[in-house]
């Protein structure tokens, strides 16, 4: 237990305090998400929430949320499914090449949902398939017992191969209901009492997204250093903190994905595909870890006091920046739910108060599982499936 010497220390101390305050042990794969704009309800509320779950998280104790068009769960998962080989089945032979092509196109266009009953109803009124609607449906039902074939069919309607956007379950409205019933949390750290050792955390201290005193400032700016090195105390209260668990929609099949993860270099991987185990799950792969659970807070009240003495000029500079959000969460909601205020005592000590409105959720962290754990429970199932479908491999 010590004082923090610089901003990196302070961030580390905050990480430990928050993780512990929320009931996690130092070795749990907890990631702080900053900045945390409020999730305001509206037409795009589900999309806003699911964006967090669809982003592949970096190897870092803190994550700056910038959703790049680069590395997303659904699109990357669809790529993996394309690299897997389904066990032989007679669906294509039963319906013939013309009907098969028409069916695949209809799946992509969203004209029919995956599944044998859906196929039969669609095929009955579709010229190319109407004569094989019933025989095709039973062939499809047999084929879909193979998890790879079923997974490929199920993800076909989704972007980018199809048109459906990514979804998870549940959505925003359920999350809000759960949040209001979630337990409250509170913790405090007195000045000089920070635990800044993050060497035993899941990343061994590796962190990529550190801001300074206010959102977007440099962690090595003079004021940030002054703030971090002069005795910082923190009190945090959350009316509700919800570990929000959501599962991917019908586009995701854990058994097929588990088969892929647990069988590096062999079936069901198609040897000819450029997508393989190493460039997916390996050290340079695009799917090494997943955000499985979001930490969402309601009615947050955080008070940070700094024992440093700030000059008039310092005070002006800090106040002018407070709208970008101040440490630790940088909630720059701009009137949409959260607020940050800075005040100075007569002797020049600073107190920052960050509050978020009741009923306006704020994402403060996520639980990051490496692929091995995310898909670990699939080991037994994968062995069974491998014996049943790929015994020759």
């Amino acid at each position: 237990m010590s004082d923090t010497k610089n901003f990196v220390d302070l961030q580390a101390g905050f990480y430990n305090a928050l993780a512990q305050g929320l009931g996690y042990s130092p070795s749990d794969p907890f990631q702080v998400i900053q900045p945390s704009p409020p999730l305001v309800s509206g037409d795009d509320e589900d999309e806003l929430l699911w964006n967090y779950l669809n982003a592949i998280p970096p190897f870092s104790l803190t994550q700056n949320t910038v959703f790049s068009g680069g590395n997303q769960f659904l699109a990357d998962y669809q790529g993996v499914m394309s690299a897997l080989q389904a066990a032989p089945n007679d669906f294509q032979a039963t319906v013939g090449p013309v009907c098969f092509a028409a069916y695949q196109q209809a799946l992509k266009d969203g004209a029919v949902k995956p599944g044998p009953v859906q196929f039969r109803n669609w095929a009955l009124v579709n010229g190319a398939c109407s004569s094989v609607a019933v025989s095709g449906a039973s062939a499809l039902a047999r084929a879909m017992l193979d998890p790879i074939f079923a997974a490929q069919m199920n993800v076909l309607p989704y972007q980018p191969a199809g048109t459906d956007p990514v979804d998870f379950s549940p959505g925003y409205k359920t999350m809000l209901k759960q949040l209001k019933n979630a337990p409250s949390r509170a913790f405090q750290v007195a000045a000089g009492n920070w635990n800044t050792n993050v060497s035993s955390t899941w990343t061994k201290g590796s962190t990529s997204g550190i801001f300074g005193l206010w959102g977007g400032s440099s962690s090595s700016s003079t004021l940030s250093e002054k703030f971090a090195s002069s005795g910082v105390g923190l009190t945090a209260k959350f009316a509700n903190v919800l570990p929000f668990n959501a599962v991917p929609g019908v586009w995701y099949s854990s058994s097929a994905f588990g088969l892929a993860f647990n069988n590096p270099g062999k079936a069901p991987w198609a040897p000819s595909s450029p997508i393989n185990w190493a460039n997916t799950f390996g050290p340079n792969g695009n799917m090494q870890r997943f955000c499985t659970s979001l930490l969402i807070a309601n009615s947050m009240n955080i008070v940070v006091t700094s024992n440093a003495t700030y000059s008039d000029a310092d005070q002006k500079e800090i106040q002018s920046h407070s709208s970008a959000g101040l440490w630790p969460f940088y909630s720059s909601g701009g009137g949409s739910g959260s607020s940050t205020s800075v005040s100075f005592t007569a002797s020049g000590n600073m107190q920052v108060t960050i509050t978020s409105k009741s009923g306006v959720p704020v994402v403060i962290g996520c639980i990051v599982l490496p692929a091995a754990q995310y898909l670990g429970h699939e080991v037994k199932a994968s062995e069974l499936l491998t014996t049943n479908f790929y015994a020759a491999a």
């Binding site: 699109a75 790529g79 499914m81 977007g216 440099s218 595909s273 450029p274």
Partner: protein
């Protein structure tokens, strides 16, 4: 003694620190130009492949869309309907020769900018002692002209933007991130076509067509900049500066409608105060964020 280059670098570096941008990825717009008025013009900017250097030039010899299309069409698609290369090729074919779009346009930019936070910072570049070296010939001053003498004095600038936005749209339906990411991760072998002249090296390597991409624009409005200088300008120098005003003044050299630039001189000392203000509705681009392919692809 600071040169003008030193002054500019010091100012830009403190501005980037205040914004929270890494200097390695930020390119300065010189001058700070207005945001394109139409979606087509804005997306044309995102469609350029920026050249190397500290300032942003978009020569647009080879556009991002063209480079991306060249890459995707040179790859060998798999047979599976879910194959990212196959999906990317069919999306490109469906897109045809339409100009590329991004998921957000000028309206979304304007809405986000109005909701964006204020940012302000102070900059000080104190004069350092003159080492006393001569210029090109004996007994001549190494300082010639107003730019040199401005930089050699103390300069303090207070900069405020009522709104500052980092605008990061993602490419539209013509683009499949997993396909380009796969090509990046597999340096050789599939999906690359061994018979094609398009290789990892000509795409992502040194001088390659997709070595870096424009990922974001830093846009500001409600600019309020005041710069004070300790340098004494003679009346002829003052006249020279006044004559240069229509080209915009340091920093950012803003000109055009909605920008109000003033340079006033102290009657006795000849010291200059510059004020540059803009209206809240006048949006200007200050920096382009240019990312190497690996970072752009989130790898």
């Amino acid at each position: 003694m600071s040169t003008f280059d030193d002054l500019q670098q010091a100012y830009v570096s403190s501005e980037l620190r205040a914004i929270g941008l890494q200097s390695a990825t930020a390119r300065l717009f010189q001058p700070g130009v207005t945001v394109p008025a139409t979606d087509a013009d804005l997306w044309a900017l995102f469609n350029t492949i920026p050249t190397a250097g500290g300032t942003f030039y978009a020569p647009s010899i080879l556009a991002f869309f063209t480079g991306y299309s060249t890459l995707i069409n040179a790859l060998v698609p798999g047979t599976n309907p879910l194959d990212p290369v196959k999906v990317a090729q069919s999306r490109l074919a469906a897109w045809g020769s339409k100009p590329p779009t991004w998921n957000q346009g000028v309206e979304a930019l304007s809405r986000a900018l109005q909701a964006a936070s204020r940012l302000s910072f102070n900059f000080n570049n104190p004069a350092t002692p003159d080492p006393g070296y001569w210029g090109l010939w004996g007994h001549s001053s190494p300082i010639t002209g107003p730019s040199d003498s401005y930089a050699a004095g103390s300069v303090s600038v207070s900069t405020a933007f009522k709104h500052l936005l980092s605008f990061t749209p993602t490419p539209g339906d013509w683009y499949v991130s997993t396909a380009i990411s796969l090509a990046y991760r597999n340096k050789t072998g599939a999906p690359w076509n061994p018979a094609s002249p398009v290789t990892w090296q000509t795409t992502f390597g040194e001088g390659g067509m997709l070595q870096q991409m424009l990922a974001a624009l830093v846009v500001v409005s409600g600019i309020d900049i005041t710069a004070n200088s300790s340098t004494s300008f003679s009346p002829p120098e003052q006249a020279l500066i006044a004559a240069g005003l229509p080209n915009g003044l340091w920093p950012h050299y803003l000109t055009g409608s909605g920008i109000n630039t003033k340079a006033s001189f102290n009657a006795t000392s000849g010291q200059m105060t510059t004020t540059i203000t803009s209206t809240a509705s006048n949006a200007r681009m200050l920096f382009a964020v240019v990312m190497p392919a690996q970072q752009y692809l989130g790898l």
